[in-house]
Amino acid sequence: MLQIEDLTVSYGAVKALKSVSFEANEAKITAVLGANGAGKTTLLRALSGLVHATTGSAKYHGTELIGKKPEDIVYLGVAQVPEGRGVIGELTIEENLRLGGLFRRDASGTKSDINEVYEFFPPLAQRRSKPTFTLSGGERQMLAIGRAIVARPTLLLLDEPSLGLAPLITASIMSFIKGLCHQKGLTVLLVEQNARSALSIADFAVVLSVGEVVIAKDAAQVASDSDLRHHYLGF
């Protein structure tokens, strides 16, 4: 379980997160929704150690994440898919996937996980030795998610996996994420602009507005409350 308490992050004078608290349950998908600039990316970056939180805590399985370096947080089973398809364009697809598992001790496990990713995403398998910049946006997103999976995380932080993807691909990525959560018992923190698709697979939803948590409820409740949806999510 991930427990976030009183988390505050500032960029200079701008407070991007103001005393954010919520919990993400084990083996469940928690959607984090909100408008542009609400602080969603900042939240994920604070959890993975890329930005320093001013105050507050985020405990995963009781271990404090805040204050640790990104390269150490990985070892706690936390993987992040960064915003905007964070794959390394100059490396090949295979190399990107290998990178995901580099810190693992079991090389053979990494290998079989890479093969599993290829099975899930056949377009990647065909181009495995091509440089990543030859992939389309959707394929890059598959690769970014695939790479996170190769790290065998127990907590997956996803930053807008649907960004720029066609509805059909978005749907298949969402169902893939749901599958991961159910089959592997992965805890997922899913940041999304696309509230409708995120709510369709999420168990729990947190809505951020200008750096503050304004709603934290079951996803189904949020989805069925049309006032709430209109007011905060615009659909």
Binding site: S48, G49, L50, K69, P70, E71, V74, Y75, A79, Q80, P82, G86, V87, I88, G89, E90, L91, E95, R98, L99, G100, L102, F103, P131, F133, R147, A151
Partner: protein, 292 residues
């Protein structure tokens, strides 16, 4: 015909040295995305350390080892003290720091060891091997240089293509933030890249020294040709460095032999211009998309 054979052989041996220096440049480029203009001066410094030891009757191999260690230390210090503070600033800054290092190191070498030319003893015979009745322009030392360069290239290839260390180094160079998210210790990789590259350049310096004599900026000329070679090959590719190095070796040797030695640099420039006008990123570079 005899001259052609000899010029070809000379081309191969000088080219091998260019290739060795070029591989140092490729290594640092792959590991940190900077061009180390100070590499020649760093190599010369290490070579001076080696020759100082040889003067004290230390064996060639130990002296070579000392040069490598000197290179590792210079590389580590450069990354830690000079390059790290300017990470994430203007991409011109590392280039300028390297030029500063070049100037400082040449001056320091001159201060310590003086401006006179020095012989560098070689561990193998430098007289040409006899084929039939005539000697050809290929000595035991030349063969040693070639073998050493091939070993370096294969080592580089293995490092970058098959080891996870090489993959981590490249990831750290291309995208430090993503690398950190994947558990790569980026700072350590950059330091390692610098250390290895300068260590390798030091080997190249020791290999080159018997043929070019040693003085504070003896690597300037070699370095420009080697830089040209690395660029011809595409800066990113160890094989490219070898091909580029040999290519430059042939250009220098044939142009020097047939047209006169003062046209060598012009020959190099012309080849460079021709190649880059067809492939602005060098022969072996994957045609990388310009990063937006």
């Amino acid at each position: 015909m005899h001259q052609f054979v000899n010029l070809t052989l000379i081309g191969i041996t000088t080219g091998a040295v260019y290739a060795a220096v070029a591989m140092g440049l490729v290594l640092i480029w792959r590991a940190t995305r900077t061009v180390n203009f100070a590499q020649g001066a760093m190599a010369t410094f290490s070579t001076y350390v080696a020759v100082t030891l040889i003067d004290r009757n230390v064996s060639y191999w130990l002296a070579l080892l000392a040069a490598i260690v000197t290179g590792l230390i210079i590389g580590t210090l450069t990354e830690r003290l000079l390059m790290r503070p300017i990470a994430n600033t203007n991409p011109l800054n590392p280039v300028i720091i390297a030029i500063g290092m070049l100037i400082v190191l040449e001056a320091v070498s001159g201060m310590i060891w003086g401006a006179k030319y020095r012989e560098f003893p070689s561990n193998f015979s430098v007289t040409g091997i006899k084929v039939g009745t005539s000697r050809i322009a290929l000595s035991a030392f030349d063969i040693y240089v070639m073998v050493a360069v091939l070993v370096l290239m294969v080592a580089l290839l293995i490092l970058f293509r098959w080891t996870s260390l090489g993959l981590k180094m490249r990831a750290a160079a291309f995208s430090p933030e993503i690398a950190r998210l994947l558990g790569v210790r980026v700072g350590r990789m950059l330091t390692l890249g610098w250390a290895l590259a300068v260590g390798m350049a030091s080997v190249a310096g020791v290999l080159a020294a018997p043929n070019v004599l040693l003085y504070p900026n003896n690597m300037d000329g070699v370095n420009v040709f080697a830089f040209t070679a690395a660029i011809l090959g595409g800066l990113d590719s160890p094989v490219g460095a070898l091909v580029g190095g040999l290519g430059m070796g042939f250009v220098v040797s044939y142009v020097g032999g047939y047209l006169g030695s003062s046209l060598e640099t012009i020959g190099g420039l012309i080849v460079l211009l021709i190649v880059l006008s067809f492939r602005p990123q060098g022969i072996f570079a994957a045609s990388a998309a310009r990063r937006v």
